[in-house]
């Protein structure tokens, strides 16, 4: 059967089971949009800016585990999308992006709305394709989904020139793909796993450090079982929150720059460290030279060989699919005669409890004058029973969300960890709400971040997305102000947010509900009221303490044990 490239594109997406296509039309994708109009299998979601299309597809992917799919036009459509694509790339999110391109005969002639899309996106995609012949289109789309979702996932872009979407070709969707140059590893090396299990069982001061890979690899349950059976402490990275239940007593909190005292010290002082789906990045371990501890042995499990021994040398590397490796680890644990040393473990836990006793996340809960941002997150946790999907933007509010909302399940915490993209929160929340129309979705944001994709309030209206926007409004680029206070002699260079809009009126003008909350006494009531409005987008503008800082904090370039616990440490 002869179909046009545009029709083939839509058929392929339907074959892949794509529910939502987040996008924005333009000249180079008009034939594809015409086909979108003519079919009803794939639902197109019209955003208000291409960056938001990618973030929405991203939020959909992170929350559901299925690849996100977006479509943009050539030129400015693509350049607007780049921030979103880089965001997904740094957090290894499976995604397929369809971009329009000028007709093949015009490529290279500086045609209207021409950019070298493959060139511009090359460093921030897992792979990209330019389809020059309509006969290659279906197989290329098939490959795109395969590459995006297998191995270490990531965004894959398919650039389709306008004439290719118009030309006809015989259509059949390939049932499988094989690429000789791409064979992601699946199984971990059994011998290495055995070595790792022995090492873990010999530990006197063990520590388990789990990252976003555990969530992406759907290995949370197995990891939880391993941690529980061993009785060892476990920490999660910012990207890994929810991989191990936060309310469990073996959970010592998030680690890293704004991690807990107990997590960072246990990380620094353990004698055997199991790193799983994590990559020792600079926001997690700080300076690798300070992180180095003689005598500490490290096991590192990751699907990507290049993550291993990149920043930290490890003793037992295991490359493989995390769920398979964790499963094999459990089997070997059960088969082993050795057991964890109960005395050593008790002494280690005693030490950890002592660290935990510092209560590093305490804050002024009794303040009745001024809203503490941490208190808002704690209340949000209570009001939602810890059961909401939480997206965030980037800044202090992101760290407070990570510290005070206790994630017991994977895929509930959605934030831009790698790129740190302000503007991610609201559009990604839209993607989550599409994936889970009946669940609570809240976006924790700041008055600066929210303005980077504020136009999406319009999309929320069009599709009736009942997202709750929790704006921790401190009238500052808070995280910037914090660094300026701590490291730049209180010179608050350009970090004050002047001329803020009236967010309540702004929300109302988009057809939503807005609340402004100024007193600690009103926090809980406002949250309850917002969530009671089950079919409305609600903008909650909390006027929070302008001077609050995020603690603990490991200053840039320092080691984990050089944490500042609070302003009294300064």
């Amino acid at each position: 059967m002869q179909l046009s490239g545009a029709e083939i594109t839509l058929r392929c997406l339907a074959e892949e089971g794509v529910e939502f296509l987040f996008g924005y039309p333009g000249g180079a994708v008009l034939y594809i949009y015409d086909e979108i109009f003519k079919q009803d299998k794939v639902k197109h979601i019209l955003v208000r800016h291409e960056q938001a299309a990618i973030h929405a597809a991203d939020g959909y992917a992170r929350s559901s585990g299925r690849p996100g799919v977006a479509i943009v036009t050539s030129g400015p459509g693509v350049t607007n999308a780049v921030t979103g694509i880089a965001t997904a790339f740094l957090d290894s999110i499976p995604m397929v992006i369809i971009s329009g391109q000028v007709p093949t005969r015009a490529i290279g002639l500086d045609a209207f709305q021409e950019v070298d899309t493959v060139g511009i996106t090359r460093p921030c995609v897992k792979h990209n394709f330019l389809v020059k012949d309509v006969n290659d289109l279906a197989s290329t789309i098939k490959k795109a989904f395969y590459v995006a979702t297998s191995g270490r996932p990531g965004p894959v872009l398919v650039d389709i020139p306008k004439d290719v979407s118009q030309h006809l070709a015989e259509y059949s969707y390939p049932s499988s793909v094989s690429m000789r140059s791409y064979n992601p590893v699946i199984k971990g090396h059994a011998g290495q796993i055995k070595k790792a299990v022995q090492m873990l069982l010999e530990a006197k001061r063990p520590m388990i450090y789990a990252g976003g890979g555990v969530i992406l690899g759907d290995a949370s349950q197995l990891l939880t079982q391993i941690v529980r059976e061993l009785g060892y402490p476990c920490t999660n990275t910012l990207m890994g929150l929810g991989a191990y239940p936060a309310t469990d007593k073996q959970f010592v909190g998030m680690l890293g720059m704004h991690g807990t005292y107990e997590a960072n010290l246990a990380m620094q002082n353990c004698d055997v460290l199991l790193a799983i789906g994590a990559r020792f990045d600079d926001r997690v371990i700080g300076n690798p030279e300070h992180f180095y501890q003689p005598g500490r042995r490290i096991i590192h499990v990751d699907i990507d060989p290049s993550s291993i021994s990149k920043r930290v040398k490890v003793d037992v590397p295991i490359v493989g699919n995390l769920a398979d490796v964790a499963d094999e680890m459990l089997k070997q644990l059960h088969a082993s005669d050795a057991k964890p040393d109960p005395q050593a473990l008790a002494a280690w836990w005693k030490q950890i409890e002592e660290w935990r006793g510092r209560d590093c996340l305490r804050f002024d809960r009794s303040n009745t004058e001024i809203i503490k941002p941490q208190a808002v997150v704690e209340k949000l946790y209570e009001v939602t029973n810890g059961d909401a999907y939480i997206t965030s933007d980037v800044g202090q509010h992101q760290m407070w969300a990570a510290q005070y909302y206790k994630f017991d399940k994977p895929r509930r915490w959605i934030n831009s960890g790698g790129l740190g993209t302000m503007g991610f929160g609201l559009p990604s929340a839209m993607g989550v709400q599409f994936a889970f129309p009946n669940d609570m979705v809240a976006c924790i944001t700041g008055e600066a971040s929210i303005q980077m994709c504020i136009q999406e309030l319009s999309t929320c209206k069009q599709y009736h997305l009942p997202i709750k926007i929790v704006n921790l409004n401190n009238r500052y680029l808070g995280m910037v102000r914090q660094w300026q206070e701590l490291q730049h002699g209180n010179r608050y260079s350009e970090s004050y947010m002047e001329a803020l809009p009236d967010f309540v009126k702004l929300a109302e003008s988009y057809g939503h509900v807005g609340f402004k909350i100024e007193s600690p006494a009103d926090v809980e009531g406002a949250l309850r009221e917002a969530f009671a409005l089950k079919d409305r987008t609600v903008f909650l503008d909390f006027q929070t303490d302008q001077t609050e800082n995020v603690f603990p904090m490991v200053p840039g370039g320092k080691g984990l044990s050089e944490m500042i616990l609070g302003s009294e440490d300064l």
Partner: protein, 163 residues
């Protein structure tokens, strides 16, 4: 340390720029890079000469392997190997220098491939060191132009890099 990496990659538009982009994006050194199709027209063979600590070379190899179009990566330093580079060099050769330059070229097994009454163009193959040594042996004032291909490498004996 200097390493010679041999790659097989899909002979597709864009594969070269992915490799080159990787090196510049991650700040790895490239001393030279050569690429051409192989006996199998769907494959290209690339030789990259780079340098770095063992850790850096390990990362380079892993990162190259992650590129979708790269089929195989092999560090020739891991075994015995042969390295050759081709150089074309234009040398001013007048009067009494003519004989001297010709003799030097002979010693290095170079061939004169073009002649005018003032110039010799010499073709020379060998390792980087040999080509360097030849250039040092000629008075630099006589060297007018050099073109070097960068090294190509292959393993010794029966070992073969294939898909």
């Amino acid at each position: 340390m200097r390493h010679i990496l041999s790659l097989l990659l899909e002979n597709e538009a864009g594969a070269l720029s992915r490799v080159a982009g990787l090196f510049s994006a991650r700040g790895y050194n490239i001393e030279s890079l050569t690429v051409a199709p192989t006996e199998d027209p769907t494959l290209s063979r690339m030789t990259i000469v780079t340098s770095g600590s063992e850790d850096v070379i390990e990362q380079i190899t892993k990162q190259l392997n992650k590129l979708i179009e790269v089929v195989k990566v092999f560090d020739l330093n891991e075994g015995r190997h042969i390295e050759r580079e081709l150089m074309l060099v234009k040398i001013r050769a007048e009067g009494k220098d003519r004989e001297e330059i010709k003799r030097t070229a002979d010693i290095f097994r170079g061939r004169v491939i073009d002649v005018t009454d003032r110039i010799y163009t010499i073709e020379l193959t060998g390792t980087r060191d040999k080509l360097d040594a030849f250039l040092e042996a000629i008075d630099s004032a006589h060297i007018l132009e050099t073109v070097r291909t960068g090294a190509s490498g292959i393993g010794r004996g029966e070992w073969i890099l294939r898909v």
